[in-house]
């Protein structure tokens, strides 16, 4: 496994609107991460988690919930956030990705996809942290 490989399966990416998918791919290219690692990074950025958190494999890929595609610790943090904020857990994924792509947005509905240099810089730091951990 290369340092930048993600343990999130690609069901989340495939579920996203086309313009969001395209943006994720651009951010992946700019940061040197895989597309799924960008999604993991978006959640860690949004939930203010340690970049080195939850590098264990996904618990299952058979569940119907998109959250089941995430590594267990990340799933659990997303569920905790959802409970505290009183929103559906799956919405956390949308909020996190929208926030990475456009911090002035709330959901994909109002997300003006653009190349956010602050987000790219954070993802590059995340890629470096993953590489150090994998070494």
């Amino acid at each position: 496994m290369s340092p930048n490989d993600s343990l999130t399966d690609n069901r989340i990416l495939e579920s996203l609107p086309d313009d969001i998918q395209a943006a994720i791919l651009t951010y992946a290219r700019e940061s040197g991460l895989t597309d799924d690692a960008v999604i993991e990074g978006a959640l860690k950025y949004f939930l203010e988690l340690d970049t080195l958190l939850s590098n264990e494999p996904s618990s299952t890929t058979e569940g119907t919930s998109l959250l089941a595609s995430l590594p267990p610790t990340l799933q659990s943090q997303a569920v905790q956030y959802a409970e505290k904020t009183q929103i559906p857990a799956e919405l956390v994924i949308e909020l996190a990705i929208a926030h990475l792509l456009d911090p002035d947005s709330v959901t994909f509905d109002d997300c003006q996809v653009k190349v956010e240099q602050t987000s790219i810089a954070w993802l590059k730091q995340y890629a470096d942290a993953k590489a150090v951990t994998a070494a």
Partner: protein
């Protein structure tokens, strides 16, 4: 449809009232980490102690929005405003309003025309 427009307008005006009436001392002060801001979806106002609302915005994480830097705080700096006289008021959005945040924000901005929204948009 008219009902839903009225309901959205009413909620936007409620949010504006909360933002306007929040005492300055109850606003979140400007700090490096913005630890007092909620990491959740909300509509916020950058306020001055005497000038009132300077800017209104929305974000999926109000705390995250400010931790990454904010143009309104840049304008406040350019205007030589004392950082101790600038604070942030927030109304967090309940689930039913999350997908209507753009409409709510636009109504609030149209009602109040905050100077920094006019300047930066």
């Amino acid at each position: 449809m008219n009902d839903s427009v009225e309901v959205i307008n009413a909620e936007a005006l409620r949010i504006l009232k909360v933002l306007e009436e929040m005492p300055f001392d109850a606003c979140c002060p400007l700090t490096k980490e913005f630890a007092e801001l909620p990491p959740s979806p909300g509509i916020y106002a950058v306020k001055h102690r005497t000038q009132g609302i300077l800017y209104v915005g929305k974000s999926g994480s109000v705390k995250g929005r400010f931790k990454g830097g904010h143009k309104a705080l840049g304008w406040a700096f350019m205007d030589r405003l004392n950082p101790d006289d600038v604070g942030i008021a927030v109304v967090t959005l309940e689930l039913q309003w999350i997908r209507l945040s753009l409409q709510l924000e636009q109504i609030v901005i149209r009602q109040r025309l905050p100077p920094y929204n006019v300047r930066v948009n």
